[in-house]
Amino acid sequence: MPDSMHNEVKPPEEQGHLSGQNAAPQQPEASAAAYGPHARRNAAVIIVVVVAVAAMLIGGQYLAHKGERSGSITAGGPKPGTAAPNFALQSLDGKTVHLSDFRGKAVLLNFWATWCTPCRLEMPWFVELEKQYGPQGLQVVGVAMDDAGPDKIAKFAKEMGVNYPVLLGKESVGDEYGGLEYLPTSFYLDRDGKVVQRVFGLRSRSDIEDWVKEALSKGSSVAEKRQ
């Protein structure tokens, strides 16, 4: 049945009596009231509303343009210096892995997806860094935030030559890490599980290596070794 058949005829009170009112001759009392206290209050309300609306619109435009101009990606999640939220996620081989399992190691926690092309560029770098810094205590952990099933994720990881654990992400974990509105998103954790750096979007390999070194150099176990 076409939508037009559902059209309702509006009752007369909704069709607008205003035209009739406008047509009526203005009474002398009405013109006097136009300058009364009610009219002044109404005018003040209109001015306040107009100013507030203008301020909000300008403010909104500013916020939007600021984000575009800076090109910076900002998001939430645990801040540097705070403990990274623990989680329990399934690995591709069906084991339950907790973030706390890696305590004592510096962790590069990388959230990615099979549909994310910038993520794919980073993965060979992570493979190299895992080989290079693994003996010093680095553990790269990949978390796939992907609707694709484990088979597709495993196939992708194999194609990329991934040599570190890949876990199947959950929305609840994503929420704890700031919602993960952008991928790739990586958190660099020191040996105590505290966030050293959080990075949204693709960065250079040298930046990534610097953050890995920083994560390796921090944490109580490093301090104990030094003593």
């Binding site: 049945m1 939508d3 609306v53 909104g60 939007a64 575009e68 549909w115 794919r120 949204f200």
Partner: protein, 175 residues
């Protein structure tokens, strides 16, 4: 007066929120007018979309099976059949994050053509067709989770023009 003022303030606040969120990727659909179509005959409806500057989305045929294609899904009302959906060809572009790889993408404006076929049984009148455009956007540094853009357009079904019969005089009638 007070209610009007409150309504204006609420509307303005919503506009501010929308503007403040405008930093993310987005695809917008241009308002589609009412397309007149003839009952029983397939017609083409063109839907125009715009990808926000600085972003791109995968085309309907991206170059990798891992990428999420842009796809339109429509729910047609009874008596209206949705036929072929024609997607434009994407552009093969390289990006800073994958300079050696060409991705087939849409950016800027693009149009999707939908074949709409009102059945012979369709009553003349306006019909709403609703659905969603699924897309996955990236910029030059990051990718964003897949999103669904609500899509809506109207068609006006009209009766087919009456078939004109040749005005033949009966051979049995003689003046």
């Amino acid at each position: 007066m007070r209610r009007v003022a409150e309504a204006i303030l609420v509307a303005a606040l919503m506009s501010v929120v929308a503007l403040a969120q405008a930093g993310g990727p987005s695809v917008e659909m241009a308002p589609a007018g009412i397309t007149p179509i003839m009952r029983g005959e397939p017609s083409m409806v063109e839907l125009n979309f715009r990808v926000k500057q600085g972003f791109h989305i995968n085309s309907n045929h991206p170059n990798s099976a891992y990428l999420i294609p842009t796809a339109l899904k429509l729910d047609a009302p009874t008596d209206i059949a949705i036929g072929k959906i024609d997607y434009p060809q994407g552009r093969n572009l390289s990006f800073a994050f994958a300079p050696d790889e060409k991705l087939n993408v849409y950016s800027g404006d693009f149009a999707v053509k939908v074949t709409v076929h009102p059945l012979h049984t369709a009553m003349p009148g306006k019909y709403n067709v609703r659905g969603q455009l699924r897309y996955q956007a990236c910029d030059d540094r990051a990718c964003y989770p897949p999103r669904n853009l609500p899509v809506r357009f109207e068609v006006q079904v009209k009766k087919t023009a009456p078939h004109t019969r040749p005005n033949r005089q009966s051979p049995h009638v003689h003046s």
